[in-house]
Amino acid sequence: MIALTTRNLLLFIRNRSNVLFSLLGALIAFLLYIVFLKQTLEGSWTDALQAGNAVAALARGPAGTSAVTAADPVTVSDLLDPWLMGGILSITAITTALAGMGQLVYDRENGLIDDFRLACRSTWRIQASYLAGSAIISVVMQLIVLVVTGTYFSVVDHVTLPWRDVAADVQLAGIMLCSAVFGAALAFALTVSITTQRANSGLNTVVGTAAGFLSGVYVPIGAVPAGAQHVMKLWPGAYSAALFRRLLLGDAVSRAFGRAPASVAERFREDMGIGYGIGGVLTTPVQELALLAGITVIIVSAILLVRWVSRHVPMANQGRRRSEHHLQSES
């Protein structure tokens, strides 16, 4: 299995367009944000921010007296840039996992799976190598995106991210790993019926675009109608986005709206997808992790079950059509 995983990784890396193509979803979201999305969002939150900052300044007392040393005023960038990063990481996790899974489609189409089966009897080991390869690619790409966007925002917008906090770093690594693993599982399930490169291309495009919307990156969840919100809450990526956002923002939200009524901060969180309103209460990180895992498992199981049923339950007119390449069909 390690041999095949190595092979999948080598093949992914040596194909430049693979790498670029997999980041397309994240890249587009990033560009859209810089070009106009940020300004659009700013408009909604500037007033609330200013009010919050004014209150904080008041609390500091008149110039010269020092009551409490307040933190520097929180800018819009401090709020929105990490928020975007969180969303982009969520998108990257699934789109790069899907891109990595493209090797499975190619191998299936060209009979390589048959070749592997001749050597290695266990289908599970072969499948696991695609999952592992996909997950590794996803983690590495997420890291790259994190570093690139983090550097950009630090330099351009002077945003400070909680790098120094080791606990946060560990948690961040953990979420990246989870997103990668569940992303790979989801990618595997989505790819299970894809037999040609063209179809795979289509799938990647659809998922890349959908991920941006469903994670609430292009349009925050607060800005869409209730029906759409329900759909978004069914998307595993929404929860990984929430987890990322919360971590990357650190205490920025609290500081920004600390002196404003608590409901303002709550509303910000709910509208921007840092926690989702389920049963009237915002989700906690643990709940989000559970939802990420649970929903992924449900979707994957459902897809695999439907596939198993269609294959093994005899239908009318099956007759001679059952004789397909029986090895290929099981990978």
């Binding site: 092979r7 040596r14 060209n110 009979g111 390589l112 048959d114 070749d115 001749l118 004789s323 029986h326």
Partner: protein, 391 residues
């Protein structure tokens, strides 16, 4: 074990199309067996069934005496007595962006218990050492085939199966591949089964199966098949002014029948269980109404004459008889294409029999014999043509 693989009555349907019908094969150890037929004949499907990639709809396959399920899930492992299979597919299954060595190392690690040096060994076996560190995608077609074969050799197979290994390669590359395969067969005692649509590859095989439209039409060595199903073509260039002598010699022999070479009046063709001993039955020659060439046209075209003769001796006798008139001659043995033509009525490359082989169509007009004709010679020639060699 006397047979490595025995297949009986294999059949396969794709929808309503019967790709393979009642195919039975025996793969003998230490030999090169070739399954030959035109495109679409069912070769790849048959091979697929033998390697376990395609599920047969009927029939049984035994590997080294162990009966496999009709739907073998994967290749038989080295159970006692069962052969270990190595398979080279028609398309390439190796990765272009990886080097030869990387490709082979990865494949080697897929197997259990392959020692570390095996990759270098197989690279040497196929003479690929010079380009072992080049990317597979950058190699020529012939080089890629060698690496494909190396891949199949990693697991020390006892039976190597190749599906159209030489398709798309030029003749020089094909020859070097044949030499390499034969060398492997002899040095490593490797049994080989290959499919091909190049009829001349029958000559490198010890056992040939001719397949067309999903059915086996003949089996045997190339030599056997040629002897059994074809005749010699004798082409004589004669002195231009002796044309009428020649014509009268062969007067009465001309038929307008299409050029079907028949073995005998009973019209027997060949089949997989044909136990015929070879060419025309010697005993029948004596007077059963004429075997051999009785149905074949003699074509006279300008100063050349083509006709079919059953064997080399008949050829020599005819030439001796016609010696005064012969300026030049050619005696051509039958080819595998002729075998194919005999068995299926079609040229292996798609043309049907009536579309014209070189000897089609008669041009002789009968003439009154002139005084210059030697009646004795004519009689001898006549009888030779009719009945074959006397000796």
């Amino acid at each position: 074990m006397s047979t490595m693989v025995r297949a009986r009555h294999l059949s396969k349907w794709y929808g309503t199309h019967e790709a393979v019908h009642d195919v039975s094969l025996d793969i003998a150890p230490g030999a090169l067996t070739a399954v030959i037929g035109p495109n679409g004949a069912g070769k790849s499907t048959t091979i697929g069934m033998l390697t376990g990639v395609v599920r047969p709809d009927g029939g049984v396959i035994e590997y080294g005496g162990t009966r496999a399920q009709p739907t073998p899930r994967a290749l038989p492992r080295s159970r006692a007595g069962a052969p270990r299979l190595g398979v080279v597919f028609q398309g390439s299954v190796l990765d272009g962006p990886l080097t030869v060595r990387e490709n082979l190392s990865i494949r080697a690690r897929l197997y259990d218990g392959v020692p570390g040096g095996r990759v270098d060994e197989v690279i040497a076996l196929v003479d690929a050492t010079d380009f072992a560190d080049q990317r597979y995608g950058s190699l020529s077609g012939g080089q890629r085939r060698r690496v494909d074969i190396a891949r199949a050799l990693i697991s020390h197979p006892t039976l190597l199966i190749l599906d159209e290994p030489t398709t798309g390669l030029d003749i020089a590359t094909r020859r070097s591949l044949w030499t390499m395969l034969d060398g492997l067969r002899r040095r490593e005692n490797l049994s080989i089964l290959l499919t091909t649509h190049y009829l001349e590859e029958a000559n490198i095989a010890q056992q040939v199966y001719l397949i067309d439209h999903g059915r086996i039409h003949a089996q045997g060595s190339a030599r056997d098949l040629i002897a059994r199903y074809t005749q010699y073509t004798l082409e004589i260039t004669f002195e231009p002014n002796r044309r009428s002598d020649i014509e009268s010699m062969v007067r009465g022999r001309v038929k307008h029948a299409p050029g079907a070479v028949r073995r005998g009046d009973d019209g027997r063709g060949g089949g997989p269980d044909d136990a015929g001993d070879g060419r025309g039955d010697e005993g029948a020659r004596g007077g059963d109404g004429g075997h051999g060439v009785s149905g074949n046209p003699v074509v006279i075209d300008g100063d050349r004459m083509h006709l079919s003769v059953p064997d080399a001796d008949a050829c020599i006798e005819l030439l001796m008889v016609m010696r005064p008139y012969v300026r030049d001659f050619r005696c051509l043995r039958g080819t595998m294409n002729d075998v194919f033509l005999t068995l299926t009525g079609r040229d292996a490359h798609g043309a049907s029999a009536s579309a014209g082989s070189a000897c089609d169509g008669a041009t002789l007009t009968s003439t009154v014999p002139t005084a210059r004709t030697d009646p004795a010679a004519a009689a001898v020639a006549d009888s030779i043509i009719t009945e074959g060699s006397r000796s």
